[in-house]
């Protein structure tokens, strides 16, 4: 009788455990999807858009990209993707057919994200309602209008490489580096690019005079004149939480959406990790 009861209890526990572990993974995935800034690009810029159904136009010097639907709809979204398909998109910049993504999808940064984090993000996306929505084809300059061009670009400008913590740096710095350089992909906007769109890592985070949508993107290195060297770690953390600059102004522009969908949803610890990492980067002058 006693054994019987125990067995039932064990059985119940076994049934309950995978469900709660899955829930935890989904919750973690949601946090990481926010940290990865996925919602902003994968949601159309209109008040009634359904999040993550894609269709947002991203203007670039090479034409207009339209983000895809990443809800789990089998036909128009990512519902048919395997775990490896999902990971490969981020690590290799390839779709499940092996076709190359254009770097408008920032796999150049996402390649550093861990498999564990990616699968949690996938678990969250797969927990959403599948939405049947076909997004427009990209409208690109003729010379990059085939995926072969994306492949050639990758050969020259992309290395598939995971983030490895630096044992000589504090844990907070390493967390910040992971968020800034990989998951949060700050450099995709804040680092200048070559005429062919390659990130100029020797000027990492020094700003971009011709960002997407024609915006001038500021220098966020600790240079006191050109960058944010006068900002304290608290100023950076507070800015990422509510969008206030140290002088009391409030941000508009694309960064406003980044704060709404991404950084305001992070824990204070993660925002402080971002601040600690940014403050420890080399101060650089802005490019001309």
């Amino acid at each position: 009788m006693c054994i019987g009861r125990l067995s039932i209890a064990t059985l119940l526990l076994l049934i309950a455990m995978p469900a709660s572990a899955e829930d935890a993974s989904i919750a973690r995935g949601e946090y990481l999807i926010n940290a990865g800034g996925c919602v902003d690009c994968h949601t159309e810029d209109s008040d009634d858009a359904i999040p993550l159904t894609g269709g947002r136009a991203v203007e670039s010097p090479f034409g207009t990209f339209y983000s895809p639907n990443i809800t789990p709809d089998v036909e128009t979204g990512i519902g048919a993707w395997s775990d490896d398909d999902f990971v490969s998109a981020f690590w290799e910049g390839e779709d499940p057919n092996g076709d190359h993504y254009y770097p408008a999808f920032p796999y150049t940064s996402y390649t550093g994200v861990s498999r564990e984090d990616l699968l949690a993000m996938q678990a969250y996306l797969f927990s959403l309602d599948p939405i049947d929505k076909t997004t427009p084809e990209h409208e690109l300059a003729w010379y990059i209008s085939t995926r072969l061009a994306a492949g050639a670009w990758k050969m020259k400008n992309f290395d598939s490489e995971r983030f490895v913590p630096d044992p000589d740096q504090p844990e907070q710095w390493n967390r910040g580096a992971y968020l800034v350089r990989h998951l949060g992909h700050c450099g995709e906007c804040h680092t200048p690019r070559s005429s062919l769109g390659a990130l100029q890592y020797d000027q990492e985070l020094a700003g971009n005079v011709s960002g997407s949508d024609g915006e001038k993107i500021p220098n966020i290195t600790p240079d006191r004149k050109d960058g944010i060297g006068k900002w304290s770690a608290s100023d950076i953390e507070y800015f990422l939480q509510i969008g206030m600059l140290p002088d009391g102004d409030f941000v508009g522009s694309d960064m406003s959406a980044v704060i709404d969908h991404n950084t305001s949803k992070l824990t204070k610890e993660d925002r402080l990790a971002i601040a600690a990492y940014l403050k420890a980067t080399p101060p650089l002058s802005s490019p001309d």
């Binding site: 500021p218 509510i242 206030m244 009391g248 409030f250 508009g252 522009s253 960064m255 959406a257």
Partner: protein, 153 residues
């Protein structure tokens, strides 16, 4: 006689030159500068409250005054977006006048949030002030996002 004529003329010229600018209608440039003045004035107490909310302003108990300053300036917001005042150098987007209903809603959000900040000011409850200030920030950011051309940030 001649002296009288000169002095009368001078008096007329001087009084005309003094009264003329006062009587003139404000130009688009004036409207822009006035908007800039109000917006600049808002930044001071906003920056100060954020520092007090973060415990970075020493022992100052001035926070209620900062909160009231924002609430007072907030009552002026509806007057500073004069049509045509998006002169060269202005960051005001045409959408302010092209989408008046949407803009009025965004402006009302800001005015309400600022008034609410003023209402909690006297209590001296730093947490309540901090939360009310967060709502103000949210309204400022929302409006800037849709209606201000940000060139630098």
């Amino acid at each position: 006689m001649r002296h009288t004529i000169i002095s009368t003329t001078l008096t007329l010229v001087i009084s005309a030159s003094l009264s003329a600018p006062i009587a003139a209608e404000p130009t688009a440039e004036d409207a822009y500068e006035y908007r800039e003045s109000i917006m600049t004035a808002l930044k001071g107490p906003a920056g100060a409250i954020s520092r007090q909310a973060r415990g970075l302003a020493g022992d100052s108990d001035y926070v209620a005054n900062h909160a009231k300053a924002i609430a007072n300036l907030g009552t002026e917001l509806h007057t500073i977006f004069v049509e045509g005042s998006n002169v060269e150098g202005s960051e005001a987007m045409p959408a302010i006048w092209d989408e008046p209903e949407k803009f009025a809603e965004a402006l009302a959000n800001a005015e309400e949030a600022m008034a609410a900040l003023g209402q909690v000011a006297d209590g001296g409850d730093m947490e309540a002030i901090g939360n009310a200030f967060m709502n103000v920030g949210e309204a400022c950011k929302g409006c800037h996002d849709s209606f201000r051309e940000d060139s630098e940030h």
